[in-house]
Amino acid sequence: MPGVRPPQEAPTSRSDAELIAGLRRIVGNEHCLTRPEDLFAYGCDALTLDAQRPAAIVLPESTEQVASAVALCAYLQRPFVPRGAGTGLSGGAHPTPGAVVISLTRMRRILSIDADDRIAIVQPGVVNADLSAAVAHHGLFYAPDPSSQQVCTIGGNVAENSGGPHTLKYGTTTDHVIALEIVLPSGDVVRVGSDTGFAAGYDLTGVAVGSEGTLGIVTEVTVRLSPIPEAVETLLAIFDDVPSACRLVGRIIESGMVPASLEVIDRRTIEAVEASVYRAGLPQDAGAVLIIELDGAACELQAQLERVRAFAYEEGVRGLEVARDDAERARFWRARKGAFGALGRLAPDLYVHDAVVPRTKLPEILEKICEIGDRHRLRLSNVFHAGDGNLHPNISFDRRDPDELARVIEAGREILELCVAAGGVLTGEHGVGNEKRDYMGLVFDDVDLDAMRRLRDVWNPDGLCNPDKIMPTTRPCMESNPKARGYDAVPID
């Protein structure tokens, strides 16, 4: 019964040999993976389309090791790709062939917690939910709560500017990150922002958050912690159809209230969740369920709750349940957050889309999205952050069926075009990655894109740091960096 044997595959070319020998010196043999199984497993993140194989994976344990690995890649002109837990849905952690994957999962220490100043300094591999758990006894939590928060890393959240159901009130990752340590694509280590939350000069923290790993590798994150609200009320409003649920969302927001969360789950998703380990007793004959969460001072909450109740009945709610305790509230949220995975029950693959439209247009856009799904004979379901118009049309499919896959891609394009035409954007929280880079032209013209490209080139002039992400490849003046593109793919098979 042997353990995992040390990586010992023969490198595939002379330059690979040099690269891998160098990487092993930096992180040690055990933490440099080159077996074919490893190269295969690291070929994609949670977006399984277009998987590629890297040349090696390293798992550094310190900023110095990250910096050395990056400097080696820069010296050998080898592309490299940062990776957290690999739960991204836009292919942001997909390697280009022959790239080095720099996995931050072993850098998972919480370096300091300052409860009085309400900040924490963490390594990038710290799991989102673990941070909140670690500060809960101070009465604090880390607000951005993506559905994958039980497994996804803070570093990945920074790269993607992740949101979550509570974005409506608390904002996205960028609103909670105040300073960063970054290994630049040159191997230099810089600090941006400050632990006070104020910094002179350019807001480089703001630039780095949401840069999808194309400007460098974040190795330390200073986050703002939020006080756990005194009181929380969570309601399930049960409707016959999705548009009615959306109308209640509109009523609540237009009344001036700022709920913590307004989340819609449609019937197909309810069925999938109720068949899963995350079942929460959601009514399976409902057309839609709206989760409404109110939080704040206890004295204000009861009045808000009554107003929401009144609006709900005016909008024809079929049933209204209030979570009796924290356990029931947790159950509602687990159902919501397990929804994507639960949809995996319907087919071998799931395409999780992400787009944002003006909230007031939700009912008509959703109707059209469902029409698109039907027209392409696809199983489409909707789970979305209704309060801020962030849609997640999910398409269940089988990637082994080329015809169905083509229809999935086509429907995805039509959905994005629809959302953009309605004044929306391409992504709310999943990022552009390699998934949507060729749609960037829908929202940005050449001048806009060129400004972005020039910004990227300041820190990432050789295009080695997470190539082929964000910037489109289809338009002549927007071609990705020639050095990254011209790199000879290492034959792995």
Binding site: M1, E37, G86, C152, V277, A339
Partner: protein
């Protein structure tokens, strides 16, 4: 693994969401995607689709898995990971990837020792003698590492009365509520005879007549986990006969006092489709059965601070977390104290710890930290592998904590003088 197999179909349930990662002991220890449930399922699928070869790397990763199945408890997509792992490991054997000394020895011990009660009894007796003569230190030097580790893990060998077969029939005490059969188990019988006796005592005290049917075999769990599914099937076949085709009227339940055995029997329908479904449906863990049927006899007081640590194959494989806690809480005076990570694996995982002593020790260390913080007088768990691992860990740290099966405490609460063991 090929694209027409049941195994391949099973891998398609995974949509690669990654929600399993934080619950996987080997992912947490290594930080590696390849050593995660999602990674392993992807490897199985990759092999079936011809994207990677079925080679030693795949074999290593599939055998690095503890088979704790914590991933199943959090998988929204309902992947049946345990069943996939068994089938994949079987194919590793078929492909000749399990040839070294370790795997050969494991297979030999599982087939020729564990599943043969008389030989196992003689073997355990021999260990008792070696220990009595204080030759175990010498043995540790002479034996292969895995065997030496195994020897060190074994608890004190119980006195021979406790290693005698359980009585084949014990009448109910008071009003008879039903008739159940008990799976005696292999390791349970040799090393935890007190638990078997406590199980019978508690069952009879609560109105159940207990039969220990003849001809029953080892449940086959360890064989299946090692990829020896054909042998596991032959054992399951014997148990189908012993528990469902002889002994007159059908039993109300087939009770197990080992989580691993219970999980294997409940899932034996997958090994012998159609044939073992009846046995699978009848199988109940002892805590599950008592919780389901309710205690009729009032337990006496036990002033004890107790932790309950979930065996993976009870909480993850059978989805049973509340029943043992409710039973323990039913004992007046007993204070059940929670500890962090109670449903995390202890690092025993059947024979896994023998092949991976270092990682096993790290996993156990985290568990012991949590236990120490809760500082119970008794640490309970309902599976022989966990009991051994936890006892060895507690002893190594010099903690004054007794390690016991929950049913032993219940028996003691009924005032039964069951010769206990640490």
């Amino acid at each position: 693994m090929d694209v027409t197999s049941e195994l391949y179909e099973g891998t398609l349930d995974c949509v690669h969401c990654g929600l399993c990662l934080s619950d996987c002991p080997t992912y947490l220890d290594t930080g590696r995607e390849t050593s995660s449930p999602r990674g392993r399922i992807y490897l199985m699928r990759g092999v079936a689709e011809g994207q990677i070869e079925l080679g030693p790397g795949v074999a290593d990763e599939l055998h690095l898995c503890l088979g704790c199945r914590a991933c199943e408890s959090v998988c929204p997509s309902g992947v049946r990971y345990g069943a996939l792992l068994e089938r994949a490991r079987e194919q590793l054997v078929d492909a000749g990837l399990r040839k070294g000394q370790g795997p050969r020895l494991e297979r030999l011990l599982l087939r020729s020792l564990l599943a043969r009660p008389a030989r196992l009894h003689a073997f355990i007796s021999a260990i008792g003698i070696v220990r009595a003569l204080r030759l175990d230190r010498l043995a540790r030097r002479l034996l292969p590492a895995a065997l030496a580790n195994a020897q060190a893990l074994l608890p004190p060998i119980p006195p021979s009365p406790l290693r005698a077969p359980l009585p084949s029939w014990t009448p109910a005490v008071g009003e008879r509520r039903g008739r159940v059969a008990l799976l005696e188990g292999c390791v349970m019988r040799e090393l935890y005879g007190a638990v078997g006796r406590a199980t019978i005592a508690v069952l009879t005290r609560n109105g159940f007549e207990v039969v220990v049917p003849e001809g029953q075999a080892c449940c086959g769990a360890l064989h299946a986990h090692a990829g020896d599914l054909s042998f596991a099937r032959s054992l399951a076949e014997r148990n189908v006969v012993a528990f469902t085709e002889q002994g007159g009227a059908p039993y109300d339940a087939v009770v197990t006092h080992s989580a691993g055995c219970g999980a294997a029997m409940k899932e034996s329908g997958g090994w012998l489709p159609g044939r073992s479904d009846g046995l699978a449906a009848l199988t109940r863990d002892i805590c599950e059965w008592l919780d389901e049927s309710g205690l009729v006899a009032e337990p006496g007081r036990l002033e004890l601070r107790v932790c309950y640590d979930d065996p993976c194959h009870l909480v993850h494989a059978q989805g049973i977390a509340d029943a043992p806690r409710r039973l323990l809480s039913a004992i007046p005076g007993l204070e059940l104290v929670p500890h962090a990570g109670a449903s995390d694996c202890c690092g025993a995982a059947g024979t896994w710890s023998l092949g991976h002593p270092e990682m096993s020790a790290r996993i156990l260390d985290a568990k012991l930290d949590a236990i120490e913080a809760a500082s119970p007088a008794v640490l309970t768990s309902g599976n022989p592998g966990c009991l051994m691992q936890l006892r060895a860990g507690v002893e190594a740290r010099g903690l004054a904590i007794r390690v016991a099966h929950p049913i032993e405490l219940l028996a003691e609460a009924y005032g039964m003088a069951v010769p206990g063991q640490r």
